[in-house]
Symmetry: C2
Subunit: 109 residues, 2 copies
């Protein structure tokens, strides 16, 4: 199938206060591209993402704070991107209202 | 290496009128994530991208028109994304000033 597909990232679920929503835009060849909408959301207390493969995230709208297992934090603004290597323990400490991410999950290296 | 990396997509080369610039943000596990800046740019006349694997593109800023080998065109605005399957012949017909893309090249399926 060589027909292109199109979409508009802001279109889609708008989660309630404190919640996140996830939608898969593309899953192929071991890669998953995801839309993540976060509305003043945080990972559950004490929870760490610890993923077997790398992730690229782009913050298209809003702002967010990522926290890392080494105690550091990173405030992200719209237009910022991050590469989170496999095994990079991280959590979402906070987001603004209507934060919107594009996430790319890579295959295992 | 589990240390995260960060960047700001608008930061980087600002090409001259009619030109594009490409920068690799991540290359791992067969995936390449690229920043593409286009300043009133078009693919060379008669040129078609015909890629062996799928590409996901997100237009973060500006507007652009993609043309396809079946004669159709698609106008993209900031926030729009496209999945261009392997073998989907396409070209960049036109972009606005300071158009800014995030492109994800997938491994062969």
């Amino acid at each position: 199938m060589t027909t292109p597909r199109f979409g508009h990232l802001p279109d889609g679920e708008a989660p309630a206060e404190g919640a996140e929503s996830f939608a898969t835009l593309l899953a192929e060849a071991g890669v998953v591209v995801e839309r993540i909408a976060s509305h003043r959301a945080a990972s559950p207390e004490g929870f760490w993402y610890d993923q077997p493969s790398a992730e690229f995230v782009f913050l298209a709208r809003g702002s967010a704070t990522l926290a890392f297992a080494d105690g550091t934090e990173r405030v992200m603004a719209a237009g910022d991107w991050a590469v989170l290597p496999a095994g990079c323990r991280h959590r979402v400490e906070a987001t603004s209202a209507e934060a919107l991410w594009l996430a790319v999950h890579l295959p295992p290296a």
